[in-house]
Symmetry: C2
Subunit: 196 residues, 2 copies
């Protein structure tokens, strides 16, 4: 059993099985959390026979680790493309805030995909997944670099405040099922960045 | 079967079974989350025979609702005692921030007891528990009242920002297992209130 599809035509049609499993897992972990999601659920959404899942992932923790890896790649790509498209630290920070605000609807429905995953995995004191803290550190360290470029000696604190404002607003938006809580908080953070 | 203990002496010694079950459930939901906690776990920590649990709570959702009720009573009591002990809106807000900061160690270990519960229950789109949104609204509405007393027309936004700063910092502190993230954010929020 390999990840290569049965015919060259299939390559053009859809991603490989492993990729589909990770995408399905990311979606289900976001929508219903790690505890409620089974490997069978993931296989069904990915349209992969359950028996095949074990070829790629031995346990649910293996697939959670793959989802964290995928999120890490996604954040890294987003931050790199912001760096390319924007020159000034302020416009870079504001671009990140716009990325956050653009997710208001889905965040109000299911929470921040990274934040709610961290919150859930944080309950497992006996088996921590260190990659999840590294995932959260990525945007914080990137924001800290921008604030430092602005000459702020409190760059680290400002970066933490920025991420806390996003994660906290995401939680409130989700709990109240109100995307406006996140999108309006983003506007205030945008003005805060302008005023720095 | 009743909630009354077998002898009057026992009354002085320990709370009734229902109260012990709710306290044990609050502790376990905080430490290991709603999905991983079983009624048997709760009975064990509460030192109540599992068979007795069903007399008080038919399902895990019943006991989760009782925990939300207990949290609601606790927040209401805390806010009322702040109102009694402090006269000015600023010192009231700062007292709430001190309450948050005082929990830094336990929050870094297990997350905010309300926030992480909201985050977990938010994943259950099919069976929302409205009381959890009402629980989160309590400190927001109280803070909004204080900001309004300060003559701020943006009182609602400020209250949301205050709670988002706390919940977001609690999540980051928990993910990084670093209580300093929460206690130092509280100091910055304290200065922000002073500067209003």
């Amino acid at each position: 059993m390999t990840d290569s599809p049965s015919s060259p035509a299939a390559t053009a049609r859809r991603p490989g099985k492993r990729e589909r499993l990770v995408a399905a897992a990311a979606q289900l972990l976001h929508q219903q959390g790690t505890e409620r999601t089974t490997l069978a659920d993931i296989a069904k959404v990915a349209d992969v026979p359950v028996g095949n899942v074990y070829y790629y992932f031995k346990t649910k923790d293996d697939i959670i680790a793959a989802v964290i890896e995928a999120h890490t790649r996604q954040i890294t790509t987003t931050l790199a493309s912001i760096d390319t498209e924007h020159r000034s630290p302020k416009s870079r920070l504001k671009a990140l805030v716009r990325e956050f605000a653009a997710q208001s609807e889905i965040v109000a429905q299911y929470g921040c995909p990274f934040g709610s995953l961290c919150s859930e995995l944080d309950k497992r004191a006996e088996e921590p997944i260190p990659a999840v803290a590294a995932l959260m550190r990525l945007p914080i360290e990137w924001a800290e670099k921008q604030f430092r470029s602005l000459g702020r000696p409190d760059a680290h604190d400002l970066a933490l405040d920025l991420m806390a404002a996003y994660e906290g607003s995401a939680l409130l938006a989700n709990t109240m099922r109100d995307p406006g809580i996140l999108s309006e908080a983003a506007l205030r953070v945008d003005r805060w960045i302008d005023a720095l």
